[in-house]
Symmetry: C2
Subunit: 333 residues, 2 copies
DNA sequence: AAACTCTGTGTAAGTGCTTACATTTCACAA
DNA sequence: TTGTGAAATGTAAGCACTTACACAGAGTTT
């Protein structure tokens, strides 16, 4: 069942059918109704490929993230997919991992799909604050389609970033720990992404403000999964630590387990703050104080930017959102 | 830069270029090398639409699940996406929610994308054990492309299901609770999907085996999120309960929080078992005993079935996998 | 009544690829 | 030298749509 069949059944030319499909104002309402009826009766659906060939687009967005099985990204993907569907866009998903070559290949591949926009989730795509050659493949992509980076920042034409002001948000959280009387605050991180560096910078500046000297022993790198984090801390956590700022909730949970194992009381002797405010946070006992990095807000911002672009208007190349501290049981404030 | 340009630059016809792209044996190695060089020099990429038009396929699979932000589905999606990518397939994702009309629309929409196979994740697509009209839209879809149901069962031509034997797996877990001496075991569930019913059936049969009379008060329906589950239990949990079997980890965590709030000791006075063995399980204190429903194994099975079909071989219409109990701190065995 | 709009519809030329079929080329046997 | 068949390449007809341009017919204007 193709456009010719419909044209014949409706007694019009294929051009008219095409116009009806595209709801062109050039067709009279009477004809439109007739053609629509025939289309429905035969449940005709235009061939996407032919349509794509003619139009050069298929109303599809590409989403690339390092790993959808991560709760933060899964949420973002779900949000993007759901919202774009409402505007009639389909979503192609690609998980890229975090290796440079893989990310590059993922972006290159998804571009071939003639997507209308590319969404990158995560700060791993902007290896160095967005200004070294490392992110060049993203800038290259932006020559073809608008690129929206969620939770990362890359400078460049046709690139629109929405991110949580991790630096300031972290600084605020660390300031609260200091106000609690904590002096030996561990910065617990895993990867060395742009956002991790922003957080570290916020952490350091909060310490500096308070006149607390920097201490390299308090910049702690741990492995990724909860159990390993606990082990790493058991093996090497400096004894004087009385506060832990973790760059994600998983790390924070590992820290909590470490505390339990060593008998350190939380939050009496040790405060812990996580990041992302995932479901993990409320599973813990005590429940984890965590920073909501506003994933949905960032997605919403990106979507709005894209819609604005679609209407031929300008969008702001970078939008910062402040995170919000969700105070729970692992801190005293 | 299209096939004509390449043909001209390489001094061959477009047919030859096309053959080179498709690595046809009809082209001499010499010509192949020459054409390939030109393609690379101009980084030519065939147009997917034109290719799709000619071939009728674009090497794409469709994935439909109720909600990717659910950890279980996110994992499955990630696994499918990653593995199919290795075979050169792209993935289109669509979250359908759990409303009949939405699921139906989601499947219909994704079919228009000329996918090569459809993957449905979750038992919500098989409303009644797979044999009522409710799943007819899936059977309709199966007329167009092979359908693979992960963690659900639908009978029908060209439909291939991989699922955890929830009934027996649940029965085993409940038997262990009984062996622990529990007699008043709550069956804590949220939705009424096929898999939830299977679990209930396993629960009931384990009770029956042990000669424990059925008690409707012990079939407990709770809302979805952790906090609500706790509230629901606080409001209405029968006091005699000494064991809880929850149909997912989120419910189990809610149960654990309920126990803590009421001062019931776990596992001394109350045992709790969750389902899915998600990351939530190890965040808890005590850590949650949970059933690993083998999501990756199911995905692997589906992928293998699809590859077998691709090679023109037969695949088994239904594959059962037994879940595994991960014993942790919320039970005594 | 002729000239002129305007609206609605049709014609036909793309869009970039695949592939059945036709044709050329070439090695080798007769 | 010619003939033969296989291997390599080209030609052209799809594939299902969009859209610039052409044109017909109904009103309007003069």
């Amino acid at each position: 069942m193709n456009i010719y069949d419909i044209a014949e059944l409706a007694g019009v030319s294929i051009a008219t059918v095409s116009r009806v499909v595209n709801d062109s104002p050039l067709v009279s309402d009477k004809t439109k109704a007739r053609v629509r009826k025939v289309m429905e009766e035969n449940n005709y659906v235009p061939n996407v490929f032919a349509r794509g060939l003619g139009l050069g687009t298929m109303k599809t967005i590409g989403i690339v993230c390092p790993d959808v099985s991560d709760a933060y990204m899964a949420k973002a993907v779900a949000y993007l997919e759901k919202n774009f569907r409402e505007y009639g866009y389909d979503s192609i998903l690609q998980c890229s991992g975090r290796e440079y070559e893989d990310m590059r290949a993922a972006v290159a591949n998804i571009l071939n799909k003639k997507i209308d926009a590319l969404f990158l989730i995560g700060s791993c795509y902007c290896v160095d604050g967005g200004d070294t050659a490392a992110a060049d493949y993203v800038r290259e992509a932006a020559k073809q389609v608008p690129v929206f980076v969620i939770n990362g920042s890359i400078s460049g034409d046709n690139i629109y970033c929405a991110l949580c002001d991790d630096r300031e948000t972290t600084a605020q959280a660390v300031r609260e720990l200091i106000r609690e009387g904590r002096r030996n605050i561990l910065f617990l991180h895993h990867s060395d992404t742009f956002s991790a560096r922003q957080k570290r910078s916020g952490y350091l500046s909060a310490l500096a403000e308070a006149g607390i000297p920097e201490n390299d022993n308090l910049l702690f790198h741990a492995r990724e999964d909860i159990e390993s984090v606990k082990q790493d801390l058991l093996a090497q956590c400096p004894p004087e630590v009385d506060g832990i700022f973790a760059t994600n909730d998983r790390l924070a949970v590992g820290a909590l387990k470490f505390a339990r194992e060593t008998g350190i009381r939380v939050p009496e002797e040790l405060s812990i703050i996580g990041y992302d405010d995932s479901e993990l946070a409320i599973c813990c006992q005590p429940e984890l104080t965590s920073i909501d990095s506003m994933g949905e807000t960032l997605c919403r911002t990106s979507i709005d930017s894209m819609l604005r672009l679609l209407r031929g208007r300008k969008a702001s190349p970078i939008t910062y959102t402040k995170g919000t501290l969700r105070r729970r049981g692992t801190t005293r404030f």
